[in-house]
C-alpha cells in the first residue's frame, strides 16, 4: 500500500474514518515508520493546538460582569446619584456665582424682581416660554426626556448614543418657536419706514437695520448695525456691531455690541456688554445702567443707579441713584451729579480718579482699592476646586455604572491620539460655531442653546475622560469597572491640577477639551457605523 496522505491521517486521528478504511490505515502505519511519524506529528499538533487554545485565560472585562438587562437596581440608584449630584452642582453654582451677582445687580437697580426671571422668563428673549408656567414645566420636561432616554437605551442598546443625541435634538425642535407671536424679517438692509407701525414684536436679522417707524412690541435683532430713530414701545434686545438709539425705547435695552451710542430716550434700564458705551448729553435713561465695557462715556441723565465694570470711564451726566464703578481709571467731569452714594473700586496699580471740583456729590466719593488677589492665594478657591473635582469624579462614576461599555470604549479611544485630537478639534470648533450660528439665526434658538449646553457638558466630561487616560498611563490599562474608576481617581486630580497652572493651564485645558470631545465623538462614530466601516483589525488594538 502506498503512503497515507495527511488528510486521512487527520481524519483517522479524529475518528472520522469509516471502520474499514481506519483498519487499513492502522495496518499500514504499523509497518511504515514514515507514516507513523506523520501520524504522531499530527497528534502532537492537535494536542499543542488544544493546549494553546485552552491556555491564556484572560481576565473577563468588567463590562461583561454587569448583567445586561439586569441592572435595574443599579440604574435606579445611579439616577438618584445623578440627581443628587446635579442638585449639589446647581447649589454650588448658585451660591458661588449667581447669588453674589444677583445681589450686586439688585443693588444696582434691578431690585424687587428676580433677575433670572427678568432676564430669562419675562424678557422677549423667551417669548415662547411664556406659554409654560415656568421652571416646573421645564423640569418636568427634562425628567421626561431623561426617562425617555433611559427607556430608549434599554430598547435599542446599540443606538443609545444616537437616541440620546436625537432626543436632545427633538426636545430642541419641540420647543415652542420664538417666532410664533412675532413678525420676522430678514434682509441685507432693512428699514422700518417712518410712517410704518408694527403692532407686534419684531425679530430682524440683516446687515444694516434701521427703525424709523414705530414698533409696538419688542425688537430682537441680530445685525451688523442697528439704528433706532423711531419708537419702540417694548424692549430692545440686540446683538450688533454698532447700536445707535436716536429715537425712543420705552422698555429695556439689552445689548451685546461693539459700540453702543444712546442719544435718544430709554424708558427703563440698560444692561449691556459692549466695547464702548456712550450716553450722549441728549440721551436719557429712565432706569439704571448696568454695563460691562472697555470704555464708558456717560454724559446724559440716568434716572437710577449706574453700575459699571469698565476699563476707562468718563462721567459728565446725572446719576439719579447711586454709582458704583469698578475699573482702571475714572474721570468725573464738572457737570456730573450723583444723587446717591458714589463708590469707585480701583486696582492697586491703576490711576487715582480725576474728579472735577465742580461735580456734585450727595455723599463723598468713596474710593476702594481692590487688591487684585489671585485665586491661588485663597484657600477657599482650592476647597471649591476640590469639591468640583469630587463632583466630576462622582459624575464619572455614575456614567461608568450607567454605561460601562460606552465609558470603557471612550477611554480606549483616548489612546488613539491622532484621531482623537484631530476629530476633537473639528468637532469642538464645529459644534461651537454651528450652535452659535443656529442661535443667531433665531429660528433655532432653543436648539442652539441645547446644543451649546451639550457642548459645555462634553467639555466638562472631557477632563474625566482624559483623567482616565492618564490613570491608565500610570497604572496600566483598566480591565474592569473598578479598575477604571481607580484610574480616574488617580488621573483626574493630576489633570485638574495641570489645568490650574497659570499659563500652561489654558493650553492644557483646551487640549483636554478637544481630546475628550474627540474620544467621545470617535466612540459615537464607531457605534453608529459598526459593521459597515470596520478595519479588519477592529477599532482599537493598542
Amino acid at each position: 500500500m502506498k503512503h497515507v496522505d495527511e488528510i486521512s491521517c487527520l481524519l483517522y486521528l479524529e475518528g472520522q474514518l469509516e471502520r474499514a478504511r481506519a483498519l487499513e490505515l492502522s495496518a499500514h502505519v504499523d509497518e511504515c515508520s514514515s507514516c507513523r511519524t506523520l501520524l504522531r506529528a499530527l497528534e502532537n499538533e492537535s494536542r499543542l493546538l488544544t493546549r494553546a487554545l485552552a491556555e491564556g485565560e484572560e481576565m473577563v472585562p468588567a463590562r461583561l460582569l454587569v448583567i445586561p438587562g439586569h441592572a435595574r437596581e443599579p440604574v435606579s440608584w445611579a439616577w438618584v446619584g445623578t440627581l443628587g449630584l446635579a442638585a449639589t452642582a446647581v447649589y454650588a453654582a448658585w451660591t458661588g456665582y449667581v447669588e453674589p451677582w444677583r445681589q450686586q445687580l439688585e443693588q444696582a437697580g434691578f431690585s424687587g424682581n428676580n433677575l433670572l426671571n427678568l432676564l430669562l422668563f419675562q424678557g422677549a428673549f423667551w417669548k415662547g416660554w411664556q406659554s409654560m408656567i415656568g421652571l416646573l414645566e421645564i423640569l418636568a420636561m427634562m425628567t421626561l426626556g431623561g426617562v425617555g432616554i433611559a427607556l430608549l437605551r434599554r430598547r435599542f442598546r446599540r443606538w443609545s448614543a444616537a437616541a440620546m443625541i436625537l432626543t436632545v435634538f427633538a426636545i430642541g425642535l419641540g420647543m415652542p418657536s420664538t417666532t410664533s407671536a412675532a413678525e420676522f424679517r430678514k434682509g441685507q438692509s432693512m428699514v422700518v419706514a417712518q410712517e410704518e407701525i408694527i403692532k407686534n414684536d419684531l425679530i430682524v436679522t440683516g446687515q444694516r437695520l434701521r427703525i424709523d417707524g414705530t414698533v409696538e412690541g419688542d425688537v430682537i435683532s441680530f445685525s451688523e448695525s442697528l439704528e433706532v430713530n423711531g419708537h419702540v414701545t417694548g424692549d430692545l434686545i440686540t446683538f450688533a456691531r454698532t447700536l445707535r438709539v436716536n429715537g425712543r425705547v420705552d422698555g429695556n435695552i439689552r445689548a451685546i455690541a461693539n459700540n453702543a451710542i444712546i442719544s435718544g430716550t430709554v424708558g427703563k434700564n440698560i444692561l449691556s456688554v459692549v466695547e464702548g458705551l456712550t450716553l450722549d448729553s441728549k440721551g436719557t435713561v429712565g432706569g439704571s445702567v448696568t454695563v460691562f465695557c472697555g470704555s464708558l462715556s456717560m454724559d446724559g441723565n440716568m434716572g437710577r443707579d449706574l453700575l459699571a465694570y469698565s476699563g476707562h470711564a468718563i462721567l459728565n451726566g446725572i446719576v439719579g441713584g447711586s454709582m458704583k464703578i469698578r475699573g482702571a481709571d475714572l474721570t468725573i467731569g464738572p457737570t456730573a451729579e450723583i444723587k446717591g452714594t458714589a463708590l469707585y473700586e480701583q486696582g492697586a496699580r491703576s490711576h487715582k480718579p480725576e474728579v472735577s471740583p465742580q461735580a456734585k456729590f450727595a455723599s463723598p466719593l468713596e474710593i476702594k482699592i481692590v487688591e487684585h488677589h489671585r485665586p491661588y492665594d485663597r484657600p477657599g478657591w482650592y476647597i471649591w476646586k476640590i469639591i468640583w473635582m469630587g463632583a466630576a469624579f462622582l459624575l464619572g462614576l455614575v456614567l461608568i455604572l450607567l454605561m460601562p461599555r460606552f465609558s470603557s470604549d471612550v477611554v480606549s479611544s483616548t489612546h488613539r491620539y491622532g484621531a482623537a485630537l484631530g476629530i476633537g478639534l473639528v468637532v469642538w470648533c464645529g459644534a461651537l460655531f454651528s450652535a452659535v450660528i443656529i442661535c443667531v439665526t433665531v429660528v433655532g434658538l432653543a436648539l442652539g442653546i441645547s446644543m451649546l449646553t451639550f457642548w459645555l457638558l462634553v467639555n466638562y466630561l472631557a477632563k474625566i475622560i482624559v483623567g482616565a487616560w492618564l490613570g491608565e498611563m500610570i497604572l496600566g490599562r483598566s480591565t474592569d469597572t473598578g479598575s477604571l474608576v481607580a484610574r480616574i481617581a488617580v488621573g483626574l486630580p493630576i489633570v485638574v491640577a495641570v489645568m490650574m497652572v497659570p499659563a500652561i493651564g489654558m493650553l492644557a485645558t483646551f487640549l483636554v477639551w478637544i481630546w475628550g470631545m474627540g474620544a467621545l465623538s470617535l466612540t459615537i462614530y464607531h457605534r453608529l457605523h459598526r459593521g459597515t466601516v470596520m478595519s479588519p483589525a477592529g477599532p482599537v488594538t493598542a
Partner: protein
Amino acid sequence: MVDARRQPGGMSAPGKTEPTEAISRARAGNTEAWGDLYQFYAPAIFRFCRRALPTREDAEDATMDIFLKVRKNLAQFDSSRPFSAWLYKVAANHCWDLLRRRRSRQDKETGDLETLPLEHPDPGQLEQLIAKHTSEEIRRALDKLSARGRMALVLRYYSDMSYEEVAEALGVRRAFVGVVLLRARHELREALGRPDAMAAGGTP
C-alpha cells in the same frame, strides 16, 4: 487520544454540571435566574469569542450581542439537549456572521476549498515547527489565519464541537470539515514558520 485536552467551559466539559434549574427558570422569564445563567456562561463565551475574533473589543461586543440573542431566543431552546451546546452554536453563528461580513480578510480564500495539496509533509519538520513554539506564539499566529481557518480550529479544538456541528456553524458540507481543518493547520504552520511572524509576534 488527545488526553491533554482541557475544556474551559467547552461543550462537553466534564465536571461542570449545567445549572438546569436556572435555565428553566430563566426560560420562564425569571430575571434573577437569567443573571445567574449569564454569570455562569459569560466568561466561557467571552473566551470563545476572544479566540474566534481578531480583537478584544470585538470579543467583548460579540459576547454582549450573543447573550442578547440568547435571551431573546431562550424560548426556542430545546431543553432536552445540553444548554452549552446550544449556547456555543449561537456564539459560533454570531462570530462567523461577523467575520463573514468583514470580507477584507477572506478574499484570498474563494472557493478553492476542495483543492488541497495532498503531498506528504515532512513529519520531522512538522513536529519541530509546532513543538518549538509556545502556546502564546501559537495563539498569536492564529491572528494571521483566514477567518474560516481560525474559526474552524477554535470550534474544533477549543469548543470541542463535532464535525457535524462545525459543518453547520461554518456552512460547509460535513465531508469537507477535515479539509478545512487541515488547511487551517497548514496556514498555522506557515504563519509560525515565517520569520516575520516571529518578529511580529513580539510585543505589539
